[in-house]
């Protein structure tokens, strides 16, 4: 148990170091002077020179890299150019809508996908199976931001059930804030349910034919107990993996969907940072999100190890 853990831990550290390096490189492949790009064409050479010093761009690349890594190790993600606050604080201030949006989308996706996946595997080849498989394929092809816009058009603009955009303004209660998340969460949830449903079906098919399922039936257990208690429980590991990966994918969807619905989350922070060329914010957001992904993956791997005695690394 300990040896594979240490091995994976070392691998994860290497991957994280590479992630940090990639983020560092991306911002520096920009053609021309990032300081001049950030300030725009109206900036005086003095302004540009000042910003270069502030960002440390006047130093050699090696020094910049060491400073950057040193800052990260002490928990410093840098300073936003436009927001006048540290990147870490800016990300934290925007974390709530993104967190809730991801959480609710995942809940909606699982509520749709798990029963559909289990039943379509159970009734393999039936009309239900064919219809839901086709629907899942369809859902996976819909751009989430477009579905969001269509939902907005119908339920917010035409029917007036929801506000088309925003997060209720400052000081809005939790209920109001959550109400604003319904449409974006439904849009993202439907789109991501496709992947989970497909995986649930595939994993269920894998175990439904296994001996232990036959044994359970032979023992006279009810079908319900056989399917949920035995088969689903054993199919759960790959399903949990895909749910974990979907959570990471949802971040991609959230970036665009937050912009559609004017939610003040991390996604819209990133988009505005890109439009304003606020490189420290882009850098910090990339790092935090990729870092979360690496950690989620690591945790999933460790869960495998803990749950399934057959898995060895």
């Amino acid at each position: 148990m300990l040896k594979p853990l240490i091995r994976r831990l070392i691998e994860m550290t290497v991957v994280m170091a590479l992630v940090v390096t990639i983020v560092f490189v991306i911002v520096r492949i920009a053609p021309g002077d990032p300081a001049a790009m950030m300030l725009g064409p109206d900036a005086t050479p003095q302004d540009v020179a000042d910003l270069r010093v502030r960002l440390g761009l006047d130093q050699s690349l090696a020094v910049q890299y060491l400073r950057y890594v040193g800052g990260l190790l002490s928990g410093d993600l840098g300073q936003s150019i436009f927001l006048g606050q540290p990147v870490g604080a800016a990300l934290l201030a925007r974390a709530e809508p993104t967190f809730f949006l991801t959480l609710f989308s995942l809940l909606i996706a699982c509520t749709i996908a798990l029963p559909v996946g289990i039943l379509s595997a159970y009734w393999r080849g039936s009309l239900f199976d064919q219809a839901t498989t086709t629907l899942a394929m369809f859902a996976a092809s819909v751009p989430s931001f477009w579905l969001g816009l269509v939902l907005m058009q119908v339920f917010a603009v035409k029917l007036g059930w929801f506000d088309p955009s925003g997060y209720g303004g400052p000081g809005a209660g939790l209920g109001t804030r959550l109400h604003h998340l319904v449409l974006p969460a439904v849009a993202l949830g439907i789109v991501s349910s496709a992947l989970i449903a497909r995986f649930t079906r595939a994993s269920m098919l894998d175990v439904l034919g296994d001996d232990f399922v036959r044994t359970a039936r032979a023992k006279g257990m009810s079908e319900w107990q056989v399917v949920l208690g035995h088969a689903f429980k054993n199919a759960l590991i790959p399903i949990l993996t895909v749910i974990g990966l979907t959570a990471a994918l949802l971040v991609s969807g959230a970036i665009v969907t937050e912009t559609v619905f004017g939610l003040p989350g991390v996604g819209s922070l990133i988009v505005s940072a890109v439009l304003r060329r606020d490189y420290p914010v882009i850098q910090g957001a990339l790092l935090v999100i990729a870092g979360l992904y690496v950690i989620i993956n690591f945790v999933i791997d460790m869960l495998y190890l803990a749950v399934d005695p057959r898995v060895r690394y």
């Binding site: 691998e11 920009a30 092809s141 751009p143 971040v251 999100i289 990729a290």
Partner: protein, 287 residues
């Protein structure tokens, strides 16, 4: 591995196999229609895509304008067809770029044992970034343009190709005839090109169709956010971005480009699924 016979036979076999699968046929037909519309756009567009007509602005779908008109009175059907050229071209080029980078990375990682750990960790690290996020950051660094969007998405999807290529190469390099070639002293570059690369066609093709689908979605997302191709160039993404401002009075402006995206992406996924089943029978029972 598929390609033990000549590649012509293999291709014919794949096509025949696809034609036996109804979902694949549906995907193929829709894809061929969409690609044909894009190629022959100038012949099939009912109106020039840029033709302004203030008098007929924001008109709903009618016999005159099947998909309605936009805020400048331009024909939405013509613009959807025209935009398809860019969206499909971007998607297709992304497949080529990601295949070039991904095959190189995967081939080296899979064939040369010493290169495997560093390259595999690099692939892991690149896959840690959500596709849209990495693409946004790359486009932000490179500057927004169609070429840079292709480059960025090509880099974003390259690790996916690299992973399957590495896995296949690991298998191929141990095959008896590759070992025989090594024993006979055939130079490594020749082995790589003649024996390994040729057998990678099928996994790359499968991955390519999924990347094509994803690239169409990602390009639409980037253009919608205003960090992709210039808003003046009609793509399905920029059309949706423009149309959203008129959703209360003219929803069709954004509906139809969205439907075009769905049809293209779905047909590519149907094809990719069928190809995977055909080329890798081990996987077919799970789909």
């Amino acid at each position: 591995m598929a390609a033990t016979s000549t590649s012509m036979d293999a291709e014919r076999g794949i096509l025949a196999g696809l034609l036996r699968r109804p979902p694949a046929v549906a995907g193929l037909v829709v894809l061929v229609v969409i690609v044909a519309l894009a190629i022959f756009a100038s012949q099939v567009m009912p109106y020039p895509p840029g033709q302004l007509s203030i008098r007929s602005r924001l008109q709903g779908p009618s016999l005159l304008h099947l998909f309605g008109t936009d805020e400048f009175g331009r024909d939405v059907l013509s613009r959807t067809i025209h935009a398809g050229r860019i969206s499909l071209a971007v998607g297709g080029t992304v497949v080529v770029v990601s295949a070039l980078i991904g095959v190189t990375l995967g081939l080296f990682a899979g064939y040369f044992r010493r290169l495997d750990p560093p390259l595999s960790r690099l692939i892991d690290a690149m896959m840690a970034f959500p596709d849209i996020l990495l693409a946004i950051a790359l486009v932000a660094a490179l500057g927004p343009s169609a070429v840079n969007v292709v480059l960025a998405l090509g880099i974003v999807y390259a690790p996916r190709v690299a992973r399957v290529v590495r896995a296949s190469t690991l298998v191929i390099r141990e095959l008896a005839y590759v070992e025989a070639a090594r024993a006979l002293g055939v130079p490594t570059p020749v082995i790589l090109v003649r024996h390994v690369l040729r057998n990678l066609a099928s996994p790359v093709m499968v991955q390519g169709s999924f990347i094509f689908a994803n690239a169409i979605l990602a390009e639409a997302g980037l253009s919608f956010l205003g960090v992709g191709v210039s808003p003046d160039i009609p793509t399905w993404g920029t059309m949706i971005a423009m149309g959203r401002q008129f959703m209360d009075q003219a929803g069709w402006i954004m509906w139809f480009p969205g439907v075009a995206i769905i049809l293209s992406v779905m047909s590519l996924q149907l094809l990719g699924d069928a190809l995977r089943d055909l080329l890798d029978p081990r996987l077919s029972r799970t789909t």
